[in-house]
Homo-oligomer: 195 residues x 2
């Protein structure tokens, strides 16, 4: 359980519904942890079964009733236990890197377009991080512990995106130096998978 712990971590801030959590996993914590609403609802059920969170139904008018989940003391303890265990360094698992590993067996043109898309993507994210940093931490310091964590996270995210963007640029540069060689036969046969 790691997604479960990520959810518990979110709920330390404030009680939330599955819907709100799904949105959270689309922005703040979602910068480094992706999960769609399905996964979140399923995980919420498990957490509730284990007694780590408690659902309280809030009757709404004009909208469907919602289930606000709150951390139970057991949930807090479980999170602290989990956080006290050594973390396991995750491996990157980026498709793009696998492609580079087999660079001489693949077509360069699609790779180039992919690299350009990725460059843009990582630049966007970098700009986004910087924007949030300027808004939330104009003077670059945090007072509370919670703020400190998020400041560190934002800085790491910003640097990471910057670095990957630079990498894409560099790769594009290097590829254009050898663009002529080995054009190979483009994909022409019929049985392509998934478009």
């Amino acid at each position: 359980m790691a997604l479960g712990d990520a959810i518990l971590a979110c709920l330390t801030e404030r009680p939330m519904t599955g819907y709100e959590l799904a949105k959270t996993f689309d922005s703040s914590i979602g910068f480094f942890w992706k999960a769609d609403h399905q996964q979140i609802y399923r995980e919420l059920s498990k957490l509730r079964d284990r007694g780590y969170i408690q659902g309280r139904e809030v009757v709404q008018t004009g909208k469907p009733n919602k289930l606000v989940y709150t951390l139970t003391p057991e949930g807090r303890t479980a999170l602290r236990h989990w956080a006290a265990r050594p973390s396991t360094p995750a491996s990157t698992k980026d498709d793009l890197l696998v492609r580079l590993h087999a660079l001489d067996s693949i077509d360069i043109e699609p790779l180039r377009t992919d690299l350009m898309a990725r460059l843009e993507h990582h630049r966007d994210r970098h700009a986004n991080y910087e924007r949030i940093l300027k808004k939330r931490f104009p003077d670059g310091t945090a007072e509370g512990r919670l703020d400190l964590g998020n400041l560190l996270l934002l800085r790491l995210g910003a640097r990471h995106e910057q670095m990957v963007a630079d990498f894409c640029e560099e790769a594009l540069d290097a590829l254009s130096s050898m663009s002529g060689k080995a054009a190979v036969v483009p994909i022409e046969d019929g049985k392509r998978e998934k478009g």
Copy 2:
């Protein structure tokens, strides 16, 4: 299928047995993609079923016979098709980041030890990358396309590890500034999970 493609990518270099692949996934490609021998053997069966690779039994004396897998033309095509699709940027999913996100609800001492362990880990990896870079690319340039890919990968890896190591240091610094505050109650209750 992404592990499958990683395996295909490895087999473009040379035919290999599952055992060799497992070792490869422990070093070179394993720097950004982890997989144990179980996963690899299972994936090899699937790839063989799909006709992407072909196994050739090599009778050995003194050792069990081995199955050398070679890419079939279909496998090469499949790999190229896969590589021609846009890559999906992977999310980080590092436990450590989740912990920082809930920094004010967890105990700092174990976090600090964890950060120190991670600092060492990433420094080691950085040193390793640099070592390989110096050995394989003493002048910092690549001639072939395959070499170019691996040079880029190594550089990215080195920078990444450097960056994360710096991050750990920074986090440790920031934590020591607020070490006194909020020591909270250490974990004392009986029901710890996994040690």
